[in-house]
Symmetry: C2
Subunit: 360 residues, 2 copies
C-alpha cells in the first residue's frame, strides 16, 4: 500500500515537471491523480499545486476524512468548488495555471476561467499520468497483492461452480469472494460470458444458465488499497470441438509470445505485434478486435496502451496487461489475460492462475 | 424495463427540444444519455442526432452488441471516434452543432472542433437530462423493481449479521445478495460504517469488526436494468445512549417532514427546508452536512438536487431520494434515506424497509 510519506516526494516530482512547462501551478481534477498526489480518496475534489504548496479542495461531506487521509492543506467549499479555488488563485497571486485538459469537462473549464481574466490558463495533458507510469516498489507490492487476491477469488468461486449456474450467479460469487478477501471493490464490472456470448468482448453477465460443450469467458479484476488487477481466463464447459481447441492454442501462444517480448526499451507496438503475428499464422488476426493490453494501477486503464501504434518504450516498474483474444461471431470468443510487471531484465507475470485449457 | 420502442419517441422529444436552440444537431457524449436515447449500454460511444437521423459511434469491441441493443445507425470507428464523427458531420453538411458541455472533456471538445472550422459549435447543458427528469411509467416500474430488490438484499444480508462481523464482510454480503437477486451491479460502493466512522458521510467499509453499543450505518443501492435505487438505514448494535436515541428521533422526524412536503408544484428548496427545520428545533441543523436528496434514474445522482438553493419545482413522475442526516464527529452519524416518487397527489415512498430504530 502506498504510504502517506510517498505523497510529498511525488508532489516534488510534479513541481520539477511543472518547471518544464510555462505555468506557475497546476489544478488537478482527475480523482486518481489527486489520490496519487495527496492520499485523498473522496469523490469530489480538486488539488491546486503551486510551488511547495498543495491545496486540497473538497466539500463538507469530507471535512473529517480529508485531513485524516491527506497531508495537504484542506479547504472545504460549501457549494461548488470553483469559487473557493478562485479565492485562492487570487490570494496566491497566480498568473498562469495549467489544467488537466482530458480530466476536466468543458463546463468545468469554463467555470474555472470565468472572472479570472488576469490568469493565463494552459491545457496540459498527462503530466501526472506520466509520473504514474513507472510504479514504486510499494505500488508494485500493492498491485501484486491485488493480483493474488483476484486469483484467489476466482479459485474460491470456481470451487462452487456447477453447470446450470447462471452467468450472474458466477459473477456474484466472484465479486463476493473478492470482497471477503479484502478487496475495496471489483476494479470493473466482472464479465462472465458463456457460449456465443463470449464473442462480445464486454458482455454483461445474464441470467442464462452456463451450459455444457461451450466456452466460458471470465474477465475480472479487484481494487486493493486503490490498485487494480486484471485477469481473463477462458474455460471449456464440457467438450470443445477441434476448431475451438485450435483457437485456444492460438490465443495462448499469442499471449506467451507477447509476454516474451516485454522488456525495458521495447516499444508497446512491438509487444502488440508479437501477439498479432502468432494469430496471423493461425489465420485468426482479423478476429482480434482490440489492443494487446493496457497499463493499470490506480485506474484499471492507464498508460501505456499496448497497441498497434503506441511508440512508448517499456521501462522497469511499468505494470501492464497482456490480453490477446479472438472473437468469432455466433461461435464464441477466447481471451487470456495476465497482469505483468516490466523488470530490469524482462518481465514478471504476477498472475498465478494456470492458463492451460481447463474443463469445468 | 425501458422497452426498445421508447427510444424513438425520446429522440423525437429531443428533436423538438433542439428546435428551441439554434443548432442543427446535438452530439451526445454522456453514456447514460446515450443509453436513454439509443438503448446502447457500451462504455465507449457518441450519439449524433441530426433531424430524424441518429448515428451511434462506437468501437469494434461493440460491433455485435451495438446493433442488437440499438435501433440507431451504428458506425464503428477503428481508432478514436472523432475522425469518424468528422466524416459524418461533413457528409451530412452540418452547419451548427450542440455538444454536451458538462459531459465532454476540454480535450474531447478540442478534438471535436479541430479542423471543423466551417461548423459553429455551441455548448449546451442538460438538454437530455431535462428529458430524463420526469420518468415514464415503464421507468418508474424499473426503479420500483430496483428499490424492492435493494431492500430484499438488505433483509437477506441482515439475517446473516452477527456482531464481530467486519464492515467489509457485511458490505460483501449485501452486494452478493443484490447480484444473486438479479441486480446489474451495486449502483455505488456500498457504505457500511460503524461507531464513530458513521460520522463520515461517505466512509469506505473497513476490516474493523462491528461491535456492540454503537451505531451502524448502511447506505446501499442497486442498479437493475440500468436504473438505480438508493437507501440508507442506521441501526443500533446493542444499546445506544439517550443522546443518540434523540438524534435518531430527530433524523426520522426530519425525513418524514421532508417526505410530507413532496408534491407536484413544490420547490426542491422547500422540501430541503422542511427537513432542516425539524433538525433546527432539535439544535442539530449544523450537523446536517449535505442536501436533503437527489434525483435518480439511469444515474445514481441526477437532477433535481433537493437542496437549499434548488428552485426546480417537483412534477409527477420525478424520482428522488430523501435522506437527511446528522454527523457528530467522534460520536457517530445517523442518516435515513428512502427512494420516493412524486405522484399526481403527493408522493409514494417506494422503499419498503422499516425506519423505526432497530437493534441488531
Amino acid at each position: 500500500m502506498a504510504t502517506q510519506t510517498e505523497h510529498g516526494p511525488r508532489r516534488e516530482r510534479l513541481a520539477a515537471a511543472l518547471k518544464q512547462t510555462r505555468v506557475n501551478g497546476l489544478l488537478i481534477t482527475a480523482l486518481p491523480n489527486i489520490r496519487y498526489l495527496s492520499g485523498f480518496t473522496g469523490s469530489n475534489a480538486a488539488l491546486l499545486v503551486i510551488g511547495e504548496r498543495a491545496l486540497l479542495f473538497t466539500d463538507p461531506r469530507y471535512q473529517t476524512q480529508a485531513p485524516r487521509e491527506s497531508d495537504c492543506e484542506v479547504k472545504i467549499a460549501k457549494g461548488p468548488l470553483a469559487p473557493e479555488i478562485h479565492k485562492w488563485l487570487k490570494r496566491l497571486k497566480v498568473k498562469s495555471l495549467g489544467f488537466e485538459q482530458n480530466r476536466i469537462s468543458y463546463e468545468g473549464y469554463s467555470e474555472l476561467r470565468d472572472g479570472m481574466d488576469g490568469i493565463r490558463f494552459k491545457p496540459i495533458a498527462g503530466l501526472v499520468e506520466a509520473l504514474r507510469l513507472v510504479k514504486s516498489p510499494a505500488e508494485i507490492a500493492t498491485i501484486r497483492a491485488s493480483v493474488q487476491l483476484n486469483s484467489a477469488a476466482l479459485e474460491q468461486a470456481l470451487r462452487r461452480f456447477k453447470s446450470s449456474m447462471t452467468e450472474v450467479d458466477l459473477a456474484a460469487e466472484i465479486e463476493y469472494r473478492m470482497r471477503r478477501l479484502g478487496a475495496d471493490r471489483p476494479a470493473f464490472e466482472t464479465i462472465v460470458a458463456s457460449g456465443e456470448r463470449s464473442a462480445l468482448p464486454h458482455a454483461h453477465p445474464t441470467g442464462h444458465p452456463i451450459q455444457g460443450d461451450q466456452l466460458l469467458l471470465v474477465d475480472m479484476g479487484a481494487a486493493v488499497a486503490g490498485y487494480a488487477s486484471d485477469m481473463t481466463r477462458t474455460y471449456a464447459v464440457g467438450r470443445l470441438d477441434a476448431k475451438m481447441r485450435r483457437m485456444y492454442r492460438a490465443v495462448l501462444e499469442s499471449q506467451l509470445a507477447a509476454i516474451d517480448a516485454v522488456k525495458p526499451g521495447v516499444s508497446c507496438a512491438s509487444v502488440d505485434r508479437a501477439a498479432r503475428e502468432v494469430l496471423r499464422r493461425y489465420g485468426l488476426d482479423k478476429l482480434f478486435l482490440h489492443s494487446t493490453g493496457h497499463g493499470l494501477g490506480l485506474e484499471i486503464h492507464e498508460r501505456p496502451r499496448v497497441g498497434r501504434k503506441e511508440g512508448t518504450k517499456l521501462e522497469a516498474g511499468m505494470a501492464i496487461t497482456i490480453e490477446p483474444g479472438v472473437y468469432a461471431e455466433g461461435l464464441g470468443g477466447i481471451r487470456i489475460e495476465d497482469t505483468v510487471v516490466v523488470t530490469e531484465r524482462g518481465s514478471e507475470v504476477l498472475t498465478p492462475t494456470g492458463k492451460e485449457l481447463a474443463v469445468l
